[in-house]
């Protein structure tokens, strides 16, 4: 195997500046949206006392889940000793940190009192899965940074396996924690399922790898560095497995729910209703986000990088739709406060068939800016530090490695 040589990217081309500029504008717009929302209060958003978590949470949770999955590539290299993946470890870690930062920023900026960040860090309720998540996220940053440092620093190379192992375990716990945010909501029929946490883990694999693949291909294309087919084939096949696995979990989730009478209402609402959630579920999540990518990845189209890129993009879009259905759809379906009773009237929407939600521009911009924050961190990261190998051409990345 040739020695892998890592190099910062060149950063004076107009393309690079333009990319920074565009991402910067999105980030600034997000900050502007935050100021607008926080200055006026959340009345300027589509959120209300029924849909308390809106689009910002959809993006934030998506990014946080994807962050953990983005680290997968590094883990496969380190923990499972697959040589082919090793040169990708640094970029994979950087992407993981960036996605997490983007997601957390959005989560934070959507708080009712973001000015009380210091309170969030000093007052802990250890019974709260949310508080645990704050610890898990900080730990994820710390461990991943140490992990990257050990990969980068020659003297530390010998410790990088244990560090990679720690990062691997940590992120499984992290995604379990994120999934449990919903799993713990016993009162909500849409979330009340033990399968939620493992489903989130497998979702993270899929979303994270899709983003990684896209970033990898675009990054090497724009910097004119060689990127061989070996890596792409391996990654896209793996991606296909993850997408299929997510579909399997979604299937089991809904099947088990259909088994229990008390969940019939919410299942009908999501799967066969006449709201946006049904459309998002079938058209965007299942068809565009799962079936089409599977066909692309495993057919002849999968040999074209352009199509692999498209498939990744579809998976990302499908993933955001899935988050929307889980987070918003789960709230849109009214709580069953009085089982066996029909609510005739209430001033708080208890009698509604479902709770409508139409996101405002501000919260949409805030949500999207999370993606921009993540990408900006990646772009700046590869500019100033040695994250990207000079070449990922087949001959440089161990052509003998099978499996």
């Amino acid at each position: 195997m040739n020695k892998i040589n890592y190099q910062e990217i060149e950063g004076s081309s107009s393309g690079f500046i333009a990319l920074l500029g565009i991402l910067g504008i999105f980030v600034l717009a997000g900050l502007g949206a935050t100021y607008y929302m926080e200055h006026n209060g959340h009345y300027v958003t589509g959120m209300n006392n029924q849909i308390v978590w809106g689009l910002p949470h959809v993006f934030a949770v998506f990014l946080i889940v994807a962050a953990s999955g983005a680290l997968n590539v590094a883990s496969i290299g380190t923990v499972f000793g697959k040589t082919l993946y090793k040169p990708l470890g640094r970029l994979s870690s950087l992407l993981a940190i960036a996605l997490l930062a983007g997601g957390l920023a959005v989560l934070l900026l959507d708080l009712g009192r973001p000015d009380r960040l210091i309170v969030a860090m000093t007052y802990y309720n250890f019974k709260s899965i949310f508080a645990w998540n704050i610890i898990l996220y900080s730990g994820f940053f710390g461990i991943t940074i140490v992990y990257v440092w050990m990969m980068m620093e020659k003297r530390m190379n010998k410790y990088y396996r244990p560090a990679g192992m720690a990062a691997f375990i940590w992120r499984l716990i992290l995604t379990t924690g994120t999934g449990s945010i919903f799993g713990f909501l016993v009162a909500r029929s849409a979330y009340d399922a033990a399968i939620m946490a493992p489903m989130f883990i497998i979702m993270s694999f899929s979303f994270g790898l899709a983003i990684f693949l896209l970033v990898l291909m675009l990054g090497y294309n724009w910097t004119n560095r060689p990127l061989g087919d070996a890596i792409i084939y391996r990654l896209k096949n793996l991606l296909g497995v993850f997408v299929a696995a997510v579909m399997y979990f979604v299937l089991v989730f809904h099947l088990t729910n259909l088994y229990e009478t008390e969940h019939h209402g919410v299942e009908r609402f999501i799967l066969a209703g006449n709201t946006i959630h049904t459309t998002l579920f079938w058209v965007v999540q299942i068809i565009i986000g799962s079936i089409v990518p599977l066909i692309i990845l495993y057919s002849k189209l999968g040999r074209s990088r352009m199509w692999v890129g498209m498939a990744s993009l579809f998976i990302i879009i499908g993933g955001i739709a899935q988050m929307y259905v889980i987070i918003i759809g789960g709230q849109a379906y009214p709580l069953n406060i009085f089982p066996g009773m029909e609510v005739l009237s209430s001033s708080f929407g208890d009698a509604a068939a479902y709770h409508a939600y139409s996101p405002s521009l501000a919260e949409t911009v805030l949500g999207v800016s999370g993606i921009a924050i993540a990408l900006l961190i990646v772009v700046l990261g590869v500019r100033v530090l040695k994250f990207m190998p000079d070449s990922l051409a087949d001959k440089d990345v161990d052509p003998h490695q099978k499996a």
Binding site: H42, V52, R116, F130, L185, D350
Partner: protein, 253 residues
């Protein structure tokens, strides 16, 4: 919900004011709303777990269309003083609401007020990341708005949808009922009154309206009216299946 200044709210407010004074004088019909003033805790004494406040709502006596308790709550806590001008209806705070129900099997209809159920095992306090949602030793489930960061996880967790988020700046708060933008709030069982040995505003209002459908008192004191009533007839907790052991009980549902 009556709009501020609307006819109904004026009337009920005036009516309520009238009786509020009698109640403060503690001379209303015996045995109904009395909790012993003599037993009111001294100001410098902390609350203790020897007490647990609760309410029994008798839905049989609760009158459909009557919103005395709701109006009283809004008036007492300053929810109808002209704030929340920008918020859409679904964004405005409601600490208590009237709900009309029909039993799907029997067709029997009831009307009842729903508000924070002051659970023994409140899901909101379990999920709150900062501990702002907490249960006081005497059973009241409150929000310490000084450390609430407005994450709304408690609203996701509450099986009764008993909480509201404040979507805009407020300016008309009462001194004894602070509220503000970006934090979550809900029924406090009128903690400022309870600490003085008085009834929650909703309970007094229900009595004043002549329905007497709400009994307030110490669930741990077997001599309290609410304990006696609970012992006498069967009652239910809403979503008893969740085993949260709420301090609010209902009869007739």
């Amino acid at each position: 919900m009556s709009k501020p200044g609307s006819e109904t709210s004026k009337i009920s407010r005036r009516k309520f004011l009238g009786t509020g004074i009698t109640v403060a004088g503690m001379s209303v019909a015996p045995g109904v709303s009395l909790i012993n003033v003599a037993e009111a805790r001294p100001l410098d004494q902390p609350v203790s777990s020897k007490q647990r406040w609760g309410i029994l709502v008798d839905a049989n006596k609760c009158s459909k269309g009557c919103t005395s308790c709701v109006d009283a709550c809004f008036t007492e806590n300053g929810l109808n003083r002209g704030d929340e001008q920008h918020s859409r209806p679904g964004q405005k705070a409601q600490w208590i609401r009237k709900i009309d129900l029909r039993d799907k099997a029997t067709g029997h209809e009831v009307s009842l007020p729903l508000f924070c159920q002051h659970c023994e095992h409140p899901p909101c306090t379990d999920v709150c990341p900062t501990g702002a949602s907490f249960k006081r030793k005497d059973g009241l489930v409150l929000v310490d708005k000084h450390i609430c960061i407005g994450c709304r996880y408690c609203m996701m967790a509450c099986p009764y949808k008993a909480r509201s988020f404040i979507h805009e700046e407020l300016t008309h708060q009462f001194e004894y009922a602070p509220r503000g933008k970006g934090t979550v709030e809900g029924c406090t069982l009128c903690v400022h009154r309870v600490d003085q040995g008085r009834n929650p505003a909703c309970v007094d209002a229900c009595n004043a309206a002549g329905h007497k459908a709400m009994y307030f008192g110490d669930l741990k004191d077997s001599n309290s009216e609410v304990s006696k009533q609970l012992k006498m007839h069967s009652s239910k907790a809403i979503r008893a299946d969740l085993e949260l052991n709420p301090g609010i009980r209902y009869r007739g549902i």
